[in-house]
Symmetry: C2
Subunit: 412 residues, 2 copies
Amino acid sequence: MRRNETAGSRSESVRQANLSAILRSLHLGGAATRSDLVASSGLTRSAVGALVGELTEMGFVHEERSASDGSPGRPSPIVMPTSDHVTIAMEVLVDSLAVAAISLGGHVLDHRRVDRTRQARPVDDTVRNLVDLTSKMLDELPTTVVVHGVGVAVAGVVRRSDKTVVVAPNIGWNDVPLGDLIRLALPIDLPVVIANDGDFGVLAEVRRGVATGMHDVVYISGEVGVGAGVIADGRPLGGAAGFAGEVGHIPVNPGGLACRCGSSGCWETEVGEEALLRRVGRAAGGGRAVVDDVLASAAAGDADVLAAMDAHGRWLGFGLAGIINTFDPDVVVLGGLFARLFPYVAAAMSSELDRRVFDVVRQQVGVLPSGLGLDGPLLGAAEWAWEQVLADPAGAEPPLPWCARTLIVGEV
Amino acid sequence: MRRNETAGSRSESVRQANLSAILRSLHLGGAATRSDLVASSGLTRSAVGALVGELTEMGFVHEERSASDGSPGRPSPIVMPTSDHVTIAMEVLVDSLAVAAISLGGHVLDHRRVDRTRQARPVDDTVRNLVDLTSKMLDELPTTVVVHGVGVAVAGVVRRSDKTVVVAPNIGWNDVPLGDLIRLALPIDLPVVIANDGDFGVLAEVRRGVATGMHDVVYISGEVGVGAGVIADGRPLGGAAGFAGEVGHIPVNPGGLACRCGSSGCWETEVGEEALLRRVGRAAGGGRAVVDDVLASAAAGDADVLAAMDAHGRWLGFGLAGIINTFDPDVVVLGGLFARLFPYVAAAMSSELDRRVFDVVRQQVGVLPSGLGLDGPLLGAAEWAWEQVLADPAGAEPPLPWCARTLIVGEV
């Protein structure tokens, strides 16, 4: 029966590829009629019908009868992702932690961020906080919710292969196996992926943000630390060991300040959150409340704050010019704090870019604030966590709904 | 007969792919026995025999009987590329022009470089000089030599699609359609490819240099100007419009000198040839003779020159640190002037890298001088020019031998 087995496994892999294509198209493109799916997939109407039926049975999608558009014949039902299936996104920043539950289609069902003071953080505390936040969030979602995986964004240098934070100078971590610690602390067993917040940020921008569909994209996340995620010719820039994108540590000032990384004059020392607070005469380590206050002063037209923003914008442009001359991207997306500062720093930043970037490159590059705000890296972490399901919707053991967990979150 | 045509065209494309695989393997790996080719290609002995026969008929390879290695049976003949087929490499630097004739297998049959003084260069002069150099060189090669194409490396920003030098600040060129000008000036019609010398330099390093087989490589060419070619995850980094790699124009010094690009404080102003001459108290624009003299002083232990080399090395490390933190490469290859300076700048450069690059990245990155010396970009230009032949050895009209040209090089 060897021949039949082979034919069977081939037809199985075709079915898997088709299920994957339909679910991915609904996840990225949103609701679509069966006719849309026939057109975009190139499959027959009956094949699409069967695949949608299977995805419905698995609970990933549901169908609604569409209103007739006046054309003859039966209206084509609208297929849309359900909100019962979610991945969990987590983010570890220097001065805040965040979690979100994100459904198929990229909808944020719930989202919680808690501030924390800037100080070296014991790893166990962070893990416990993340798991507590997650459990409380999931407990408030419908009992039908099924969790498929976890994506963790970290403001630090991450080795994805063994899910380890190699170094996070601003958090005070070295060689922390954060992925495994989170997996073990969760009350149900879930696959965990972990990456630098820049890597997740750029993924969110090309899938759901201002860089959707572009092939050469630099996303720069500015918080206390500064890092980047890069898509080059449509593919993530990883580097030899996955550590590419540490643009916060491009030396830009030979007479500059000491950096937490051990160097000095790094771009981060001129454009990170501390540099902003220094320029406006506030104490370092103020966290988001102080930044909110500074932004309010800028909005109110405070001349000293606006002058500080100008200086900050010049340094932003100074470093960005080198990054743009290096990558020649379609677009640079500024995320995190940089997106919030954008209206106040844009003019000074642009005039540096005009002066320092080759004209032929300057004319075509867009420099834009992220429209996804603080949540970009969370959306990207969720996207990455979705990948396994999107690649093989029928392949994974269907996980238990969250409410069926038998363990209670205890001490980590 | 439609079915037969289809079967015929499929078998033709299989033959083309196999011819290509055998010729590429000999080009990159050098001479091999038929048995080696059977093992590496996975084809049968008789298929390899037929393909080698075809390539021999086309003149690309010849066979020599190998000495018996003592094992029973007939010794397997050794297949090697002939030196009758060449591509022409050209290089346009600020203070020199070079041409080379490079055979299958990457052997440099002839190579000529002429200095020129630093000044804005009329394009026509440059084209005429390159074509004259090329003609004289080819006239001295055997009359059997067949030329397949031309690769032109330029120290400037190049748009490969229309073979145009968009801007070469140190040569004083803007929007020069150099590829077409060279093609029209040559006495026989040849395909011309053109790229930045960094792009060709990195290709040479991964094919024939210290980065052979590596997937994440940054090649930095330091002359009067400074540029880079980058291979990321095995593929050339092009950017949105092919202008990536202008690392000489990463701003590194807010109080720095004016740069010919219109900016100031660019890395090039601290590590280019002019910066070196400034540090040793020589006039700018001295060209290679003065650089040779400076290197001789360094070799003789001149304390002032060695101190200047130290300062130069610190600036090299300052800029390289940012590039390494950005790309996390397997290796950085320093070409051109940087390769010649290497022994005198390495210590100061390394200590900057130790301080400024993340430990986990620093520990695995190699920073090496190019072993290909000044000729790296020429070798890369030849490699690129070979691509069309390697992809389809039987496909191109066999070009006439150089000696059969009927036109005489005239006014451009």
